[in-house]
């Protein structure tokens, strides 16, 4: 679904991504963890075509949708409007399948998106991304600022979509415990470089990752 090969992205003289390679296969859930400023959001923006790489290549097979960091909902518009715009590029803007997938949104459909709680907004952002019926979903900081119960609910929805539709997921998270629990494989990005990769269970067992991201003694 996603293949990134030795990708380098620069902001002027600063190198944000330095020879990053990763892949997400069909039906796979992959985590990308790393601290602030590691280059995670730069990778997201590059995959979405919003930033051009200085070197390297990337390819996306199928339809990619993004849940951006900070939700980025259209605050003055209603939930329903936000959802419909999620399918701007596709012909059908029928929101019925999203309300079936995320029934919590049904009662909010006429509410202004800017006036929802953080958890509700993240649910709308997820629904908006799913509107285009993507093959691969990139989620940037899903858990940011949300209560654990809300995050668990969102994670449950992701698992369901992955299991039911084979939706591939690239989950970009600072909450490493969540990301490693949820995803089969993971990459660790630090200062623009992949410093560790492998099955999530193995990475969670690595002393360095445990110490740096899971708050455990090395």
């Amino acid at each position: 679904m996603i293949r990134v090969d030795r990708l380098t992205v620069r902001y002027g003289a600063a190198t944000a991504l330095d020879g990053v390679s990763l892949s997400v296969a069909a039906g796979e859930m992959v985590a990308l963890i790393g601290p602030n400023g590691a280059g995670k959001s730069t990778l997201v923006n590059t995959l979405c075509g919003l930033r051009k790489p200085a070197a390297g290549t990337f390819a996306v097979d199928g339809k990619l949708a993004l849940v951006p960091e900070g939700r980025h909902l259209f605050a003055p518009l209603t939930v329903d409007d936000n959802l419909r715009l999620g399918a701007w590029r596709s012909g059908s803007r029928d929101t019925a399948h999203i309300y079936a997938l995320l029934p919590e949104l049904t009662k909010l459909r006429k509410r202004q998106a800017g006036k929802l709680s953080g958890g509700e907004q993240q649910m709308v952002a997820l629904g908006r991304a799913l509107m285009s019926r993507p093959d691969v979903l990139v989620i940037d900081e899903m858990s940011l600022g949300l209560a654990p119960r809300v995050v668990a609910g969102l994670a449950g929805h992701l698992r369901e979509r992955n299991a039911a539709d084979g939706l591939a997921v690239l989950l970009i998270e600072q909450n490493a415990r969540l990301a490693l629990d949820l995803c089969d494989n993971a990459y660790v990005l630090e200062a623009g470089r992949i410093v560790a990769e492998g099955p999530s269970a193995e990475l969670a067992g690595s002393a360095e990752v445990a110490a740096a991201y899971l708050g455990l003694e090395a």
Partner: protein, 285 residues
């Protein structure tokens, strides 16, 4: 009573032109966050174009429609010049529109000279509450009502309108969803151009237009738009009508010399009230 009715209806008619000009500003600002100082030029250019098209033998209706279309195209070009370069800030684009407005003076003088021009509108007059009113004022009011209602419906009911609002609300998210921010901005400029052009085409039969008539139109249009914080078409309409009526009453009962001053005082009062409210909000925070 007849005199008052006459002032009220002519005021509403002129207010409609202000509302159309202001709505053009609002459409552009809502989508691009650019205050388009060339807005008055669209009206003048369209009005002067009609005089040429009519002189060239085109019938009424077609000439006006073509001029509005040309104003829309000019709006598109202004948008392209002002915002086409990636990374242009709204402040920089504002200055570009100001420059283009000045350039428009030179082009208009070159093409049409510096003397005021006009053309015939809807002929005849009607009596309303004892006052004789040119029928053309009713045309201005009717067309404005239909066009502004259509504009409001576009924003409220269509996906295109929602996408225009979304572009202004969060350009990053719009780009992520594949909505072209540049195209939406250009569309807004084209719509703004057409609304400005329509204002000029409608008002010229009752008020002569020359190359510098844009100042009065843009000052009054901006005053109307600022009542709605440059984002709300409904309040812009209210502002335009209020200005038109007050100016007609001032012109009728006092002197026509004070009409522009009324618009400026109105705009100043709104800005002072808004600034005061912001202070209150900030103090509370």
């Amino acid at each position: 009573m007849g005199e008052l009715a006459q002032y009220l209806i002519t005021g509403v008619g002129i207010g409609c032109a202000y509302a159309l000009t202001g709505s053009g500003l609002v459409v552009i600002y809502r989508v691009t966050r650019v205050v388009n100082f060339a807005q008055g030029s669209f009206a003048v250019f369209a009005a002067l174009t009609v005089t040429t098209l009519l002189a060239g033998g085109l019938p009424h209706g077609l000439a006006e429609a073509l001029a509005v279309l040309i104003a829309g195209l000019i709006g598109l070009v202004v948008g392209l010049v002002a915002t086409g370069k990636p990374g242009t800030t709204p402040q920089a684009a504002l200055i570009v529109t100001l420059g283009l407005g000045v350039l428009a003076y030179a082009i208009e003088i070159l093409l049409w000279g510096d003397q005021p021009r006009s053309f015939a509108g809807l002929p005849g007059s009607v009596t309303v509450l004892g006052g004789r009113i040119q029928t053309h004022y009713l045309l201005i009011i009717g067309v404005t009502a239909v066009v502004l209602a259509a504009t409001a419906l576009l924003f409220a009911r269509t996906d295109l309108g929602k996408a225009l609002t979304a572009t202004a609300a969060d350009p990053y998210a719009a780009r992520v969803l594949g909505i072209s921010v540049l195209r939406m901005g250009l569309l807004a400029f084209a719509a703004g151009g057409a609304l400005g052009g329509l204002a000029g085409v409608l008002v010229t039969p009752v008020q002569q237009v020359s190359f510098d008539s844009d100042v009065a139109l843009v000052v009054n249009g901006f005053s109307a738009a600022i009542l709605g914080n440059l984002t709300r078409p409904g309040l812009t309409l209210v502002g335009g009508l209020l200005l038109g009526v007050v100016q007609a009453l001032v012109g009728g009962y006092l002197s026509t010399s004070y009409q522009t001053e009324v618009a400026l005082i109105f705009m100043l009062a709104v800005l002072i009230v808004r600034a005061g409210r912001r202070d209150v909000v900030e103090a509370a925070a």
